[in-house]
Amino acid sequence: MTEGTRPVLSCTGISKFFPGAIALDEVDLTLYSGEVHALLGENGAGKSTLIKCITGAYRRDAGTIHLQGQAVSPTSTKESQALGIGTVYQEVNLLPNLTVAENLFLGRQPTRFGLVSYSRMQTETARILKDYGLAINPAEPLSSYSVAVQQVVAIARAVELSGKVLILDEPTASLDREEVELLFSVINKLKARGLAIVFITHFLDQVFEISDRATVLRNGRVVGTRELAQASQTDIIHLMLGRQLESRIQERAPAKSGKPLLELNNFGRKGTVDPFNLTIHEGEVVGLAGLLGSGRTETANLIFGVVPADQGEAKLRGKTISLANPRQAVGHRFGLCPEDRKTEGIVGDLSVRENIILALQARQGWFRPLARAKVNELAEAYVKTLDIRLASLDMPIRFLSGGNQQKALLARWLATNPDFLILDEPTRGIDVGAHAEIIALIERLREKGMALLVASSELEELVAYSTRVIVLKDRRQVDELTGGQISTGNIVKAIAAETNREVA
């Protein structure tokens, strides 16, 4: 710990309950002046909930927050800003249609005779941004600059308004290497000015490059805080992903190597996923492992045509096919349960029944409606086999719990009798019971000869059902594990090894 300095911000015992779930469970976080503190964890670990509790966007259900020794309880982001806690999000919360200067000064413009003084606003802006190493035209609209520039302007605004604690939520997610370096020099300057900085990211290299300490969250709990000078990347990955990460080698029946189903050659999209080769056989589960942002979801979306590939070719049972949009993929008997259930999966106001038959109906065409009896039969059959808990098939699907929504989405694809099913984070945000059922279902489908591609951040889970695991990093495949090689330890090693090689 940094000796002798009083913490700028100390949070103790922060808890937040959402209906049916504990989002944060007695979380402690201490920030010192002049430190960069990384906040790590997979999606849903509670990082953004914690930030929202600190900035007053959420009301915490328990715990105390002390800012420079004073107990505070901001009830809005505006209030926390006034107290000295500024936040900058990945999707920059500035107004792209206003100029750089207007964004920096919105709400506190310098005035002269009651009128906004543009000249003063612009010279001030130029002066402030120079401190951040930025020489841009303050009179240009913000939208004409890249996200990195917008990011720095957002930081400048947050520091001008607040100036004690700066929270950076995934600031580097869409920046290239040089831009990241510029951003880091800005962070270092602010650190030297004595700000306490919270840095949220999923790039571990960057964590080690810029941060002094790191706190790792898992399932709403702090699993550890480490001085990064004394920790290795493997330590941190273990904290983030593993419950107990001793290399468990699982006994498994040798996967029946079925006939090749889908063959992807040099398949990729510029700026999204580097070109890769992948053959998926019938009766096999291919796991996609990697940290957040490694390209798991992007790969899934690419194969399903949600974001079409711009290079390479796809062959289905030896025949070249086009995967330019999901409709074509569905036509080839593919299915995709997306990572973001709410915005890309369920159709919230439609009934569970309609959600289940949606894909089958879309494939059948507009004018060949499924017979009502068939619809009921299908829906009821899947509700029973997948054990979907609901009051009625007629209720809108958004009223179901996360696990039941996920099962209904699985039912949607199973109803189309697919040959190839892509599951992106199939167990995220669902309760333990449903979790086990979905894993068992994946096993069953594989045994029946279906080909599956499963992307997940839960390594134990991947190890449990995959016959092959592809490890992704920085949007490209870095390793492939088969048979006895598949273990959480080996996956972590593959991720970390590659990282170390790059750093070295």
Binding site: Y58, F304, G331, I346, D349, L358, R368
Partner: protein, 351 residues
């Protein structure tokens, strides 16, 4: 999907009640309101007039309901009516038969729908902006066809569509009820209705499920153009002339109101054409009650505006949310946790 007669009835119950109340008001101010006579091979009566006068709005709201269900809006229908009416009139005046005139008008309506649909679905222009273009230019185009005059005609066949009767029932009534029934069955007996609702609720999810949302979007604007064309022909036939300036003037607003009064959300999703049609009848009955009550007709708009404001306020998200919370707190003990959770959604913006 069809949930059977009972579900339909439950859906349209509020509209039916409002309609019954307004009709009752009609009866109170004018006891002969429900009296229907059969004279000169034609039904006469105030109730018949409500159904007859409401025909243009009713026709427009059929297409408008579908458009609004996709999260869109079609401001151009009034102007399309004028163009279609002018086209039909021009064709019969040039010596073509009424059939050709009708087909011509419908083709023009479909072309307008295609234009709107392509702007919305392929150029991704906001519907309100995209359809504004035709709303502004449309009347000019109609005047171009009529050359600025009220183009009158004497073609019996065409006039029959607006002013004639079939088995004693005024033709417009049969047309709007018939078209309403055809479109309702057309979307509910096929998968179209559900797919339209799906893209209105969540276009991204629908796309992932394999729905061809673009073509579907163009289709609903085509239906809207078709309905507007028929409405335009009826209005022209009724006055035996095409008035490019006044045909269908502000009817797009009436049609949108009918859809809203029909309980359909302007944010897209679930829709009921039947409820919209009842909404159109409610608007016409309000006009009728003001007329029959002997109130000066100048109060018509004020009363209409106040009724609309009342209905809209009841349906507004804030008031709905407040009612929801009220009901939820009353029922919460009886509810399952998952459901109760949904009833008190945290009102935050997603990051």
């Amino acid at each position: 999907m069809v949930h059977g007669f009972q579900a339909t009835l439950r859906r349209i119950a509020p509209q039916l009640i409002i309609l019954a109340v307004v009709l009752l008001l009609n009866f109170l101010v004018f006891p002969d309101f429900f009296k229907i006579e059969f004279q000169n091979d034609r039904l006469f009566g105030n109730l018949v007039d409500v159904f007859n006068r409401g025909a243009p709005t009713a026709l427009l709201c059929i297409g408008m309901t579908l458009v609004i269900a996709t999260k869109g809006i079609d401001l151009s229908v009034g102007a399309v009516m004028a163009i279609a009416g002018a086209t039909a009139a021009d064709l019969v005046v040039s010596g073509y038969g009424w059939g050709t005139a009708l087909i011509g008008a419908i083709s023009v309506g479909l072309m307008c729908g295609l234009w709107n649909g392509v702007l919305v679905a392929f150029l991704r222009i906001q519907p309100i902006v995209a359809t504004l273009v035709l709303m502004v230019a449309g009347r000019g185009i109609a005047q171009l066809i009529t050359e600025g005059t009220i183009l009158t005609f004497l073609n019996e066949g065409l006039i029959h569509l607006g002013a004639g009767t079939v088995l004693g029932i005024p033709t417009p009534i049969l047309i709007w009820i018939g078209l309403g029934a055809i479109v309702t069955l057309g979307v509910r007996r096929t998968a179209l209705g559900m797919l339209v609702e799906a893209i209105g609720i969540n276009e991204a999810s629908s796309r992932v499920a394999g729905i061809n949302s673009r073509v579907l979007l163009v289709s609903v604007y085509l239906v809207s153009g078709f309905c507007a064309a028929i409405a335009g022909v009826i209005v022209a036939a009724d006055i035996k002339g095409a008035d490019a300036n006044n045909a269908g003037l502000w009817l797009e607003l009436d049609a949108i109101l009918a859809v809203v009064i029909g309980g359909n959300s302007l944010l897209g999703g679930r829709f009921s054409i039947t409820a919209s049609l009842i909404g159109a009848l409610i608007i016409q009955s309000v006009n009728s009650v003001i007329l029959l009550s002997g109130l000066p007709p100048e109060f018509n708009l004020v009363i209409k505006a106040l009724i609309i404001i009342a209905i809209l306020v009841i349906q507004s998200p804030t008031v709905k949310h407040a009612l929801y919370i009220l009901r939820a707190s009353a029922e919460s003990e009886a509810l399952e946790p998952a459901r109760a959770a949904q009833l008190t959604p945290p009102k935050e913006t997603a990051q």
